[in-house]
């Protein structure tokens, strides 16, 4: 894919498109019928320093305390001199496409998507299926549970693990780095047989539903 600089007008349109994208976010279910998380709070693009291997950068915090992030749309953070804002985004399909959400190509960049999964009750044996393009690191309720340090194309459900959801809010922080071209992530929650879990909701903030 060719990469070319955006014309300022196009950039403004892109920003607008991005905004409308965000406005439309809640039109899409937070989690779809197959268990893919659709609603996220996103921080991107974070420029990655030249020279350092991307796999190494994955294993370093790009934002301080990334394991325990609990952002909401509008929160601002400065990373390597660049101010960024968290914003709500929704995936159009069963994976989150960072470039699409940003409406730009972002080589050598990193980003976070955060999902607040509300469970109606403690739920053991929840299968977590993840995919990333390229490197991905997933934190679950503050615990580093998954890392993939190599560049790769997206395969949804590429890796499967299991967690126990606690009653109420569970926080998934998914860091995804992009070396070049496509930049995507997928996260799916099901039971061990691959069936969707009833009653799960994905919220925009860590505040439980009253």
């Amino acid at each position: 894919m060719n990469i070319r600089p955006l014309h300022p007008l196009l950039a403004a349109l892109a920003l607008l498109a991005s905004w409308t994208h965000a406005v439309a976010a809640d039109d899409v279910p937070g989690i779809d019928a197959k268990g893919y998380v659709r609603n996220w709070v996103m921080l991107a693009p974070i420029p990655l320093p030249e020279g350092a291997p991307t796999g190494d950068l994955l294993m370093r915090d790009q934002v301080p305390g990334e394991a325990t992030l609990k952002p909401k749309a509008g929160d601002r953070v400065t990373v390597r001199g660049k101010e960024l804002a968290w914003r709500d985004v929704s995936a159009k399909t069963n994976f989150m496409d960072f470039n699409e959400a940003l409406d730009s190509l972002n080589d050598r960049s990193g980003g976070y998507v955060v999902a607040y999964v509300e469970a109606p009750a403690e739920t053991p044996d929840v299968m977590v299926s993840v995919g990333s393009n390229d490197q991905g690191r997933l934190y679950f309720n503050g615990v580093d549970i998954y890392a993939w340090t190599e560049a790769r194309p997206l395969v949804v459900d590429a890796d499967k693990g299991k967690v126990r959801l606690r009653k109420g809010i569970n926080v998934f922080v998914f860091k995804v780095l992009n070396e070049s071209n496509s930049w995507q992530a997928s996260l799916r929650l099901t039971d061990l047989a691959g069936k969707p879990l009833p009653g799960l909701r994905v919220l925009r903030t860590p505040t439980p539903t009253p």
Partner: protein, 889 residues
């Protein structure tokens, strides 16, 4: 202790019986034998903790050519060796001497030499010892000693800024380099050895590696572009490979031929497939001379993917394994690449690979820059790293182990990672298991944590781990028929920081090994001498590569505050001062030759017949036995097969049988019957190698279970059998065996066997095997404090200050408990590269080792508990160490 407590054996007789080696030389140092235990040094505390090694008088008397050798047990002392000394200092109780050795010592005294006995076994002051020695030695010896002092030039100091991490009141000055001859005068080898120059600048410059071909010719890698000389891919570097020949047999090289030049940051070479494979920046390089002019005319890149982030952390130490794979070591520059379609990513440990790049396996993970790599007489794998780890033993395969490990640092198993234990969707992992309680297994175990060095100069310059090994650059074994029995099988650890070659006395210990302090084979007062590699050569002597550089420290980059010198970080991560004192023009190669010994009888195997090659497998010099195996395997000739089978089946064991076994495997001629015989050989080392040589297919599995190796009486061999079980596919009978092995107390009571059992349980999914979980109670801040300040392996306080005590390399930790959460601190301890503290953001790579690989889980919890008490920030709020400039005024 007072001198009065010493009984001086004064020279009362003549010089009858005094050998020429001690009496005849008109210009020589005094040689004193210390007979008794080597006192354990403390170090790490007090105002002079960074400069006082507090052991025996190497730092005080060796600089004036009063040289001490050390024999801890009198049974290791021979009469021939005794004759080389001018005096003996005995701290051993008289009851520790048998009649024979007492008689030798009586004769020694009667010949006019000194026998100084400690009345209570304690060590006197160095001044008292000096007086006692000088009073006791023969007049002629003293006269020769005085002549030697007069003959050698003084160590002169030149202008130049030298980092003073040791906080000396007066920084060490820049020493003027010495000629090779004068450097020898300042360098000690055992009294019954001689240090002989083989080559020096300008013929050889910055030698970093040596290997010998089948003609016995030395091939030397010259690292002329270390440390800042990295060039872009495709451009020529300044390193080369040089053939150094002694054509007239006088022990000195007289013909030098550049085999290949334009190499970049080359670190080592190994002979393979009719050429050499060189480790260098970014990849290996196969070089071959096809027309016989000793110039490489074939140049082929092999195995790309080696990192160049730090030029003293790259891959090197290439060696042929007994198993016909090529072995190497790599530091934190890491490997990241694709081999046979698989992504592989690892660093800081030992690896093996096929010469054509078709396979690569990470073998043994350690926690630091790994440089040294050596195989003992039986092919077991050892190595050494930076920062307090002069010897480790590799016993679990990292490429199998690492994917089962908890927490950060999951690399090494191929692929890009995955879910951590406790969150995997396989086996019986509970999703909510506290993964901190999953026991972290080492794939290599440090054998000498905290071992102190014994330098011969008071001017050792170090950054951290003061007094301990910090740059253990080489780790090879003395397997040579031209060396005395007391050294056979012991390991040589080159330490350029302290100007020594240390000896590790490595002995079997249950299912693994332990190391004891074997003192030195070489120690120099010349502060330029920098032994970076030593190995047994074709003549059976120990050859030493002396990088000959006053500045050998690579990093960290000093500044006025930390070391009194301002510097910048150059390409490759090595520091650079304005008046760059890094040398690019010197280098020496020496041989350390046993005066009373023969030289190895084999001169060349270049045109050896198959029969001669098979016979050479039994050479007492491991260089020749390995060379014979190499030639058999690389030539892929079938003629030697019958003789090789006969040797293996002879039942007499020995290294010849081991090399014959692997030779057969290497030419594809190891039949099941021969293999079965080897598995039942009376020599445990043959059985061990037979286990390792088993294929992982059905034939191998059947052979394995047709022998009793899982209950081998030799526990090192039993551990190798357990490790082989890791490689077989999981099957019901293997799971049954694994479960049964747990019931044998000897297996669970031995740490090496128990670790292997634990991994077997994980791999073959058998519950309750080994010790997969560890009970961790709430951290104890008191224990954590003790670990922080006193643990020789973790050595936290060597770099970090807390409560006003500690080092100035890393961030000040006062207030860490309030400026970082527990998760941050834990991750920083487990994976120091995960985050860089404020003020250290520009570091590419943290010099701190991951403590998860050093500390036990409880110890880690204790250190965390101590750090949680550090709630009060530094008074000035500055967490970056600041040295008071007045210290330098």
């Amino acid at each position: 202790m007072k001198p009065l407590n010493w009984i001086l054996g004064l020279a009362v007789g003549g010089l009858a019986g005094l050998p020429a080696s001690a009496a005849g030389a008109a210009d020589r140092p005094l040689h004193v034998l210390h007979l008794g235990p080597v006192p354990a040094a403390t170090g790490g505390r007090g105002p002079d903790a960074r400069t006082n090694y507090a052991y025996l008088p190497g730092q005080t008397l060796a600089p004036e050519a009063i040289l001490f050798d050390h024999v801890t047990s009198p049974t290791n002392l021979t009469e021939v060796q005794l004759r080389h000394y001018d005096a003996v200092v005995q701290t051993l109780p008289d009851s520790g001497l048998d009649g024979t050795r007492r008689a030798w010592l009586e004769g020694f005294r009667k010949s006019g030499k000194g026998w100084i006995q400690s009345a209570d076994g304690t060590r006197p002051t160095d001044a008292a010892l000096r007086s006692a020695v000088l009073e006791s030695v023969p007049k002629e010896a003293k006269s020769a000693w005085e002549s030697s002092l007069a003959a050698r030039p003084p160590l002169r100091r030149l202008p130049g800024e030298v980092p003073n991490y040791e906080r000396r009141p007066q920084p060490v000055g820049y020493q003027e380099p010495l000629s090779p001859e004068d450097s020898i005068r300042y360098t000690q080898v055992p009294a019954d050895f001689e240090l002989k120059l083989f080559a020096a600048e300008p013929d050889v410059v910055k030698p970093i590696w040596i290997a010998w071909d089948e003609r016995g010719r030395a091939w030397v890698v010259e690292a002329k572009d270390y440390p800042h000389g990295l060039v872009p891919e495709g451009q020529p570097g300044k390193a080369d490979v040089k053939i150094c020949e002694d054509t007239d047999g006088d022990g000195r090289a007289d013909r030098f031929t550049v085999f290949a030049e334009g190499l970049n940051l080359a670190t080592s070479l190994v002979f393979v497939d009719g050429g050499v494979l060189v480790s260098q920046a970014r990849h290996m390089l196969f070089l071959q001379d096809t027309d016989g002019d000793d110039k490489a005319d074939v140049r082929r890149t092999v195995l790309p993917g080696w990192g160049v982030g730090d030029s003293h952390a790259m891959q090197g130490s290439l060696t042929r394994g007994f198993d016909n794979w090529l072995y190497g070591a790599v530091g934190y520059s890491n490997f990241r690449g694709q081999v046979a379609g698989r992504n592989i990513d690892f660093g800081q440990g030992v690896f093996r690979f096929k010469a054509d790049g078709s396979a690569l396996e990470f073998l043994h993970q350690y926690n630091n820059n790994t440089w040294g790599l050596g195989l003992n007489a039986h092919g077991d794998v050892f190595g050494s790293t930076a920062n307090g780890n002069p010897s480790f033993y590799g016993y679990l395969p990292a490429h199998i182990l690492n994917p089962t490990q908890p927490g950060p640092g999951r690399r090494g198993g191929g692929g890009g990672g995955g879910f951590r234990p406790g969150y995997r969707l396989d086996g019986d992992n509970s999703p909510e298991a506290d993964t901190r309680n999953v026991r972290r297994l080492p794939s290599a175990k440090s054998l000498a944590p905290g071992m102190r060095m014994h330098p011969n100069t008071p001017n050792v310059r170090m950054v951290d781990n003061f007094g301990g090994y910090t740059a253990a650059a080489g780790h090879t074994f003395m397997v040579s028929d031209a060396l005395p029995a007391r050294l056979q099988g012991k390991a040589l650890v080159t330490e350029p920081t302290a100007k020594i070659i240390g000896i590790m006395d490595i002995r079997p210990d249950g299912g693994g090994y332990r190391a004891e302090d074997g003192f030195n084979l070489l120690a120099s007062t010349d502060e330029w001498m920098s032994p970076v590699h030593a190995d047994v050569g074709p003549d059976g002597a120990v050859w030493v590569l002396d990088f000959y550089s006053f500045v050998i420290q690579h990093n960290p980059t000093p500044n006025v505050r930390s070391a009194g010198v301002e510097a910048t970080t150059g390409l490759g991560g090595a520091y650079k001062t304005a008046n760059d004192l890094r040398d690019q023009t010197h280098g020496r190669i020496y041989r350390i030759v046993w005066k009373d010994g023969p030289r190895s009888p084999i001169r060349s195997l270049a045109s050896a017949s198959p029969e001669t090659l098979v016979a050479a497998l039994d050479s007492g010099n491991r260089f020749w036995s390995q060379t014979a195996q190499r030639l058999v395997v690389d030539r892929q000739q079938s003629q030697p097969a019958p003789a090789l089978r006969k040797r293996v089946r002879s039942g007499t064991g020995g290294t010849g049988a081991i090399h014959a076994l692997w030779s057969l495997a290497g030419i594809g001629a190891l039949d099941a019957e021969t293999h079965r015989k080897a598995l039942l050989d009376r020599d445990p080392a043959v059985r061990r190698n037979a286990v390792r040589a088993l294929p992982t297919n059905e034939v191998g599995r059947q052979l394995f279970f047709s022998s009793p190796v899982v209950q081998d009486p030799d526990l090192v061999t039993r551990q190798a059998a357990f490790a082989k079980l890791l490689e077989f596919p999981t099957a019901p009978e293997i799971r049954t065996v694994v479960a049964q092995l747990q019931r044998v107390p000897a297996n669970t009571g031995d740490p090496f066997l128990n670790d292997t059992l634990t991994l077997l349980g994980r791999i073959h999914k058998v519950d309750g095997v080994g010790e997969n979980e560890v009970a961790v109670s709430t951290g104890d801040p008191k224990r954590g404090e003790a670990l922080f300040y006193e643990s020789p392996t973790a050595a936290c306080a060597a770099c970090h200050t807390a409560n006003g005590r500690g080092g100035d390399v890393g961030p000040i930790l006062d207030g860490i408990a309030v400026r970082a959460d527990k998760a941050y601190i834990l991750e920083s301890l487990m994976d120091p590269n995960a985050k860089f503290a404020k003020g250290f953001e520009n570091l590419e790579i943290s010099p701190m080792p991951p403590l998860g690989a050093i500390l036990k889980e409880q110890e880690l919890a204790d250190v965390l508990a101590f750090l949680a008490t550090l709630t009060r920030p530094p008074k000035d709020g500055n967490t970056v160490p600041v040295r008071k400039t007045e210290d330098y005024e």
